[in-house]
Amino acid sequence: MQTSQYLNQLHTADKLSEEPWPEDATLYQPFEAEQILLPESASCLAVKAYLKMCNLPFGIRTCANAEHMSPGGRMTKLPFIRAGAFLFAEFEPIVNFVEQKDMAIGSWQDEDEKADMRTYVSLVENIFTMAELYVSFKNERVYKEVTAPRNGAVYPWPLNVIQNYSKRRNALRQLKVYQWHDLDIDQVIDKVAKCCETLEYKLKESPDTPFFFGDQPCELDAIAFGHLFTILTTRLPNMALAQTVQKFGHLVSFCRFIDEKYFQMRCLQE
């Protein structure tokens, strides 16, 4: 029975590009107000921005066990999207899925630009996700006051204690793998500042267009918006990340522009 399941998957994968985007595609994420954490929120916002830029309809379902339902991923495992019979989690796999359907933005880019953009996307995702994980889990005050109560909000005692313990252990292990575990907060801020500098430089390269590459949005716009906007608008006991990003005026106005164009959340103050 196992082999026939795999053959089935291969067969349907071949038909991937032929099937249109389903009407009832759904994005699954944890509860927005009580549960979701900083890195997860950034990833979810990035995917939402990307799908809006591609003009693809999707529904949002929030559930407490979104993380456990997810088919798995490299970093946060969230959000995951269900389109017909397919399940994909995290920003990059979802983007790859959409590109296979020939509905993605960025199809106007040539090969060189695409490769260039991919490196930026990779840089943004790694640096910002690691920084968000660091602040959420390694910083004692943020962990105790924000991360732990939020993560355990959906479980009864003592399950919340056990879940927090195991999630923190996983996060610290991930930080160790990416060699962020032994950095101190200043080095983290330094890395984030350097990344922001690179982004601002790229933005300034084409000063008359609002997006990173030309006058059409691309993946980099989506993921940069997701992370930057979330960092700027999430209140934490330690606002080091937000203060760092605030220094880069162009990035802040970029976020405001994308927000105005696609979301109208209007949480960024002047």
Partner: protein, 438 residues
């Protein structure tokens, strides 16, 4: 002088008057005295030699049950000393206590599964029969169980006949539901109290409280979304009450008697899982002529929501079908199906009618043949519906082998009669092993 044998029937032992002056229990090192005191009660009541011997045997088996002695021997001698009465006897019960730590390894048979189990026990740890044991088992459907159990019997109290026992265990067990492609890992503790009541009929009661974390995870990547929806950990806090009435003359091939068993669970005292679940199992055996036995079995299971239920846990649903319930169907294949994957049902019922016969030419192989039986059976049952329309049924003939007085192996040739479109049947031979069949 060791226990005198009854030499010839010339002597009627009940006519010889006797009186027990003293009862010695030796060999107690860490056991407390009050735990074994009841052994002497019956002996002091004896008024003649026969009674004394019978009471001495009863005292010996009582001491065995207490779970403190490996070996018990009884010595009866005439009583000596200053306050000895004529016809006075002194009874000495010599016991050899269990060693401080015992280990065992073996196989265990469950419902259509076999497992390897190892156990490390510290018996009689506080002097009154309590024991702490660490059990680990590995099986085909439930991988890597681990349990640390503290067990305390209350056989020395005045409720001795009711055999009350209490236990507290910490456990970690994994239940695999292979046909539905998910598994649950349960980690928690269990408080258990069981006793017998003898008001008219002999019933075994057991009351349990379980508090456990149930983590549902998937066994492969392409699982229907309806099952994926249930993933994640949940905290269950439940009370379980079970009642057993068993007056059959044997567990494996009974010829007469009745078995009634009922397990009821109420989950929802805290935690975030809530439901009530009841199962009942009954078996009636009627002896006919020439070694034939007619047997009727039935089983019913119901899972209901309570006010606090958000969603019924998928791991508590009932699987109908299989060599232990509806023969002729694959395990769990007589129930609802989601996207091609069978899942359990909220309610199910299953009945069976059997005609048990000894093997032909059983007289020739006397000893061996008593372990075998043949049966003709007719099973019917259904999931999620208590009506007889659209029910599933099968009949057939089979051979059963007794295994160690507790379990039975069956090899049946089944012919399914009525089935539904999504059912998976085995038209032909089917093998089953277990201890509770329908």
């Amino acid at each position: 002088m060791s226990t005198p044998k009854d030499p010839n029937s010339k002597y009627d032992l009940s006519k010889i008057s006797a009186r027990v002056d003293k009862v010695n229990v030796s060999g107690l090192q860490r056991t407390h005295d009050d735990y074994v005191m009841r052994a002497a009660d019956g002996l002091f009541k004896a008024s003649n030699f026969q009674e004394m011997m019978l009471e001495a045997m009863a005292a010996k088996s009582y001491l065995h049950e207490l779970g403190i002695f490996k070996d018990v021997s009884v010595h009866i001698d005439i009583s000596r000393g200053a306050d000895a009465t004529p016809q006075g006897y002194e009874v000495t019960l010599k016991g050899k206590e269990f060693t401080r730590i015992m280990g065992s390894a073996g196989t265990e048979i469950g419902q259509n599964e076999g497992s390897l189990r190892t156990e490390l026990t510290i018996p009689n740890i506080l002097g009154r029969g309590e024991s702490i044991s660490l059990q680990g088992s590995y099986s085909s459907t439930r991988a890597n169980d681990l349990q640390l159990k503290f067990w305390k019997p209350f056989f020395h109290t005045r409720f001795r006949e009711n055999r009350p026992e209490a236990s507290f265990s910490l456990f970690r067990q994994t239940d695999r539901y292979d046909i539905s492609s998910f598994q649950t890992t349960n980690l928690g503790y269990l408080l258990d109290f069981s006793a017998h009541t003898m008001l008219g009929v002999d019933l075994t009661h057991s009351l349990q409280y379980e508090n456990s974390i149930r983590d549902l995870s998937l066994l492969n990547k392409s699982v229907p979304f309806g099952i994926r929806d249930h993933c994640g950990p949940k905290l269950a806090s439940l009370v379980r009450y079970s009642l057993i009435f068993d007056n059959r003359d044997a567990s494996v091939f009974p010829t007469r008697g009745l078995l009634l068993k009922s397990v009821n669970e109420y989950c929802g005292l805290g935690g975030n899982v809530a439901y009530t679940s009841s199962t009942a199992h009954g078996e009636v055996n009627v002896p006919l002529f020439a070694g034939l036995v007619a047997q009727f079995c039935g089983r019913v299971g119901v899972v209901k929501e309570t006010k606090k239920t958000t969603v019924l846990p998928i791991s508590n649903l009932f699987y109908c079908g299989g060599p232990l319930t509806l023969r002729g169907f694959k395990y769990g294949s007589a129930g609802p199906v989601i996207d091609g994957t069978p899942i359990g049902a909220q309610t199910f019922w299953c009945t069976g009618a059997h005609l048990w016969t000894p093997l032909p030419f059983a007289g020739v192989f006397k000893g061996l043949a008593s372990h075998f039986r043949m049966h003709f059976f007719y099973n019917m049952g259904n999931s999620n519906s208590f009506s007889m329309e659209n029910m599933r049924s099968a009949y057939g003939i089979g051979l059963a082998v007794k295994l160690a007085e507790r379990a039975r192996i069956e090899l049946n040739y089944c012919v399914p009669l009525q089935k539904q479109a999504t059912d998976k049947v085995t038209n032909g031979f089917q093998f089953g092993i277990g201890y509770e069949f329908v």
